[in-house]
Symmetry: C2
Subunit: 458 residues, 2 copies
């Protein structure tokens, strides 16, 4: 009988978690003895719908990948047998056997706020290495940044109330649920229902009961009493299994040790007000109301504008899938190549997909209160005002960066967001934050375009 | 210096890849000595936007999980120290230490077409076990089913042309990319760019070069020649780096060994026609045109309705994120409980979220050509016409099901789709396939509602 496959990522062979063309190109570069040092930059050409900024996340997992990537003997055997590699030499497979990433990486620290067109990560390495790592880097940065950004919008809408991640069941697989827990925390969430994420990351695990608990006992009151018996200091009860207001009255019977009630369905505005009245009438003003069920930034904004007495929001599907904009279009483009000791700027001209050449840096300009005014993208080494955002994180294959804790990363994000002026971050009709290309960069682009077009378009 | 964390799923402790409330409820059940056998059913209440059916996928990974779930000593230590478990007994943690899933599972085989409201998986186990596995099961089934369904729509639009998965870079993390490769293959794709997925699943790995290859050589023609030199039998060239028609002419210089050209940007309809002319003028009628770049079922349908001479589609972001409908709302609900040897039907009444009680089965009725006419949902053991869709897959913790290969699963899906009449599967304005609840089930529901409301709503 066949054994079911887990499809978990192969920790001993992360090199093959990539697109095939990265490896065919690698073989091609190898056979042509191309050992040029190439620089690729990861950026987002256009922000997704309804987004006016990005909260960068995923760098830690990218660094883990870059410092652990290798090819197992079994994986190499598999590649050897692929028709695509029929002409590849033994030396190439020998090369893969000893493969490590030996390049240098600059990146924006996690939690940094960034904008369209800005390089977020810059990889300089022998071209084969820089090429192979593209797919994984994009995947890990695209997703975590997507979710940290979405979560920051939800947290913004919640105006200081707690927001917690309830999304694993609707994430794109259980692993995505763990990454979502991390990145939504970076965006400002207070905790997650995902136990493994809490365990690995040292963040709060939250949650008490589901409808099935209530249904499993002989009646609702009994189920509430039985829960309180075992968890006297953490009694948060789900009250909508049968009828929400009756549920609130049953919960109130617990008395002053009751910590909170959760409403997961129905008209949350009306129900939260009615439930508050039931609780207050019993002298339970301290009991918190938690709301969940298809919440997002717009619904939370709406509830709070109508004075819903909700203390805390559990957000799932909409946050972990970034439902209104479920993909971030990060790209990874060759911008420079060193050939015979000379740096050659690189760009492509595909319609609507033109890229800027050269190693770049992003300079952020703030006013005297620290509020962000505009960013300038210049080439590396250009003299430009502002705080450079890309920092060295890997030098010659080794991490050269003190990894911040997830609490520090969240602090960076909240601090960055606090300094992003209101018009650039409001939920609807936000203004476009000014990102300027330096004159020097525009000149380099024109030169490169002229040179490359002269060569290629004939 | 801190080490970067991978956040890969813990193979030795999959039990904690769940929501905290599953474990607090488990502790509660344990302390109350609740050893009732419970039955939960996984179903989808409403289909997502633009969907008229589901292609079921993810069962194999669900079975892998159910037969491997356990709790490591370290994870148990972590749980012991959580404030939530302050009152839990040593015996509970001892129980977790020896935890295995010992239940019985019925499921629709992967590749089956299913509809809203139908139980897709049914888990019968001691209530603690059935409860803990909820989160992971939902996550793995929701995502793979979401993508198999989306891919089947794209494959349908492609009318027999190849569709391949290019999506890992935009999937919700690298692991989601692997699951997407699997589930999009089930929905009818011909291969994937994801090397690890191809390796693990035995499906075709596809892809040749990216823009960076073209840019890395001294000019486009040189880059094409250099690629052909190393891969003479697999020369598929990306021609839009600088100018697509010039690219086509450069590619044509390879001569009759050229296998294909890929266009990744611009007006694919116009460009594919112009490129076809360039190739045909050189006698290269056999050279295939591959299109990629933000494709989905609607764009492919549109291209083919306008006679775009495209032979094969590479689809990424839109497929692996199911971008128009990026979440499947699978739920997992308690439907029955055995208490003192008696089966008690269970349901909840939360507004808009009412569930049907009892162990259920889905009976599919087809006409004499095998075309699906309607499904009937009845209770287990009810005498109903039609082919039962839920099959035993795990009995008392052991797999009792011969796992099909992924090719067999794809065959099931394509066969099911072929027997789903056109009105129920067309891309737009599809009709709702008739799913009927049996009279017996309606009666059981009314009885359960009366009984439970009598107890709970006072």
């Amino acid at each position: 009988m066949n054994k079911p496959k887990s499809l978990f990522l192969p920790e001993d062979s992360l090199g093959i978690v990539t697109d095939l063309y990265q490896l065919t190109m690698a073989a091609g570069y190898f056979e042509h003895r191309m050992q040029d040092i190439a620089t690729f930059e990861l950026s987002v050409r256009h922000l997704p719908k309804n987004r006016s900024y990005l909260v960068i996340a995923g760098l830690e997992q990218a660094l883990q990948y870059l410092t652990h990537i290798k090819f197992s003997a079994e994986a190499i055997k598999f590649l050897r047998e692929l028709p695509a590699f029929k002409q590849a030499s033994n030396e190439f497979f020998e090369y893969l056997k000893n493969f490590i990433f030996s390049g240098t990486v600059y990146a924006m620290p996690e939690g940094t706020i960034a904008f369209a067109g800005e390089p977020l990560i810059r990889v300089t390495a022998p071209i084969i290495e820089a090429q192979i790592v593209e797919t994984y880097l994009l995947s890990i940065i695209n997703y975590q940044t997507l979710i940290a950004t979405k979560s920051s919008r939800i947290v913004y809408a919640a105006k200081g109330r707690d927001v917690v991640d309830f999304g694993t069941r609707r994430a794109h697989g259980p692993q995505a649920g763990v990454l979502a827990a991390r990145s939504s925390f970076i965006g400002g969430c207070n905790g997650t229902s995902n136990v493994f994420a809490a365990y690995e990351l040292g963040i709060s695990a939250v949650g008490t009961i589901a409808h099935s608990w209530v249904m499993a006992f002989k009646n609702e009151q009994d189920s509430f009493n039985k829960f309180h018996e075992i968890f006297p200091d953490n009694t948060i009860l789900l009250i909508d299994t049968y009828d929400t207001l009756t549920g609130a009255r049953h919960a109130a019977k617990i008395g002053e040790k009751l910590k909170g009630v959760r409403i997961d369905s129905g008209d949350l505005l009306k129900l939260s007000k009615d439930v508050r009245k039931v609780l207050d009438a019993e002298g339970l003003q301290h009991v918190k109301i938690i709301a969940s069920g298809d919440l997002n930034e717009d619904r939370i904004d709406d509830l709070l504008k109508n004075s819903a007495p909700i203390d805390s929001f559990g957000v799932g599907t909409e946050m972990v899938t970034s439902k209104d904009a479920p993909a971030l279009g990060g790209i990874y483009k060759l911008v420079e190549q060193e050939h015979d000791g000379k740096s050659i700027p690189m760009m492509k001209f595909s319609e609507d997909k033109i890229t800027y050449p050269c190693k770049k840096q992003v300079y952020r300009n703030s006013d005297k209160y620290g509020n962000f005014m505009h960013d300038i993208i210049g080439f590396e080494g250009e003299e430009i005002e502002g705080k450079p955002l890309l920092m060295p994180v890997i030098k010659y294959g080794k991490i050269c960066y003190n990894l911040p804790t997830i609490y520090e990363i969240q602090r960076t994000a909240l601090d960055n967001l606090a300094h992003l002026p209101e018009p650039f971050k409001r939920l609807k009709n936000a203004q476009t934050y000014p990102v300027i290309k330096s004159e020097g960069l525009e000149t380099k682009r024109k030169e490169a375009e002229k040179m490359l077009k002269g060569i290629n378009v004939t």
